[in-house]
Amino acid sequence: MNVRRQDKIATVVLYLISGTIILILAALLLYILAAGLPHVSWHFLTSPARAFEAGGGIGIQLFNSLYLLVLAMLISMPVSLGAGIYLSEYAKKNWRTTFVQTAIEILSSLPSVVVGLFGFLIFVVQFKFGFSILSGALALTFFNLPLLTRNVEESLASVQGSQREAGLALGLSRFETVTRVIVPEALPGITTGMILGAGRVFGEAAALIYTAGQSAPALDFSNWNPFYIASPLNPLRPAETLAVHIWKINSEGIMPDVAAVSAGASAVLVIVVLLFNLSARWFGKWLFKKMTGGD
């Protein structure tokens, strides 16, 4: 067999492989949407779940997911920003920095179930927060911190050195240079990373099963006092999220319309995550245009 024929065969094989990949991935997306979307309605999105009869919704779970997302991002955003600034602007190249970077890398590669178990041990058992939104948000923070930190560090490091010199030459301190010159310049990259992180947090379940809990008590949407037990904002109530809900109803299998509810919930989950991804790209580009003044 000569080399020309080999080349032809290899090309055909590569085309086939790529075709198969596209087929698998497209079938996956289409299946999720086709199986789920018929079950998604306003009623499905707003009514509470029912354990033993058909016709339940995912209202409370959806709200829990969003609330948990907001809390987790509120905690992890400032910390990762600070850590990223330190790594990119202050850290010297020595063994301590290498150690810190290794630690962050290890944290980002830990299985999320281990992070969840650690959160369970610390917050639920030791600090006696119980299965609560607060425990869940803190566990999600651990899960999210390394990736956000690396994103901030990389975005800051991609800003040119001359910008720093310009800031220092104007008599600003190093920290002011960072907050007034470097961070705004790196903002599109940072925002994109944060939105992508939010999408990841929204779909996370393994870290939440033993921290935010697997029950969704009824909420009183007329009382927004955070200290009231049935208030949607109470951070110490157990809160099953959408992703945990899909897992739980499938492993229990007592809900009569479990397939329909999980298909609908999966579709909602995927659509929200896709929205996060698309908006991250779009928003990053828009912000970049806005801040650099034109194309």
Binding site: V3, Q6, D7, L14, Y15, I17, S18, I21, I24, L25, L28, Y31, I32, P78, L81, G82, A83, I85, Y86, Y90, A91, A103, I104, E105, I106, L107, S109, L110, P111, S112, V113, V114, V115, L117, F118, L121, I122, G171, S173, R174, F175, E176, T179, L196, R200, F202, G203, I209, Y210, A243, V244, I246, W247, N250, A259, S266, L269, V270, V273, L274
Partner: protein, 307 residues
Amino acid sequence: MDPIRESLLKKSRQSKVERLGKLVSFCCITLIVLIVLAIFYFVASRGLATFFHDKVNLIDFLTKDVWNPSVKDARGLPEVGALPMIVGSFLVTILSALVATPFAVGGAIFMTEISPRRGMQILKPVTELLVGIPSVVYGFIGLSVVVPFVRGIFGGTGFGILAGTFVLFVMILPTVTSMSVDALQAVPRYYREASLALGATRWQTIYKVVLRSATPGILTAIVFGMARAFGEALAVQMVIGNAALMPHNLVSPASTLTSVLTMGIGNTIMGSLQNNVLWSLALLLLLMSLVFNLLIRFIGRKGALKK
């Protein structure tokens, strides 16, 4: 005092801001390092209690294949052989990586070498979108599509290693593909030009030049995918069948470290032997993720040396 002298000796506002800012950002980074150390300390202290407090033999734990923590064997020792879970975890990880690698590498070659325009327009956005799909959704699809499919072809319940492999394959495929694309794109253009100028065909160039010099990057991508597969909990737990038995074939119910952890931790009492052995499994998981991490670093260093 002389106002000039005073202003020279006093700390400027700038330097105070600088101090404060540096301190705050240093605290943030310290917090992250403390979290990592705390995770290791707490999981290790719980996980090692099985061996120091409950006197379980480490070798028995790793090599015995009967998992029944609440029952004691003839010698009065609890039956906590974790081998079925260890084998299950490694089997699904290695099998899914074996299936995913040709697809991922082939797709990546297509995107970078054969048809960059079409590849970048269709394949890349699709794989990037799929990286973000939550693992429970993969689990649910596995439960409603893959398990019935396996049941239809091989009989039995359909739950088992094979179903887990399929689910993990689809799950790690986007990650491995996009990392392989990065590795292939990092190969300098003049390598390809030099090879083509010598009269090599496109496939010869790909096979003998591009793939060879991108090998460390592709290996990193595969190990990364394996680490993800090894640590994945819910998607696997939903399709593997959750029977802590040695897997005799690929379609009988089995279990992995993560699936036993997800099922068990809520049903056992803190500090009891049944609970401690679960923490030992978590410790094992933690150590394996460290091993994967070291492996990635090792590959990276080897690859960097060659250049």
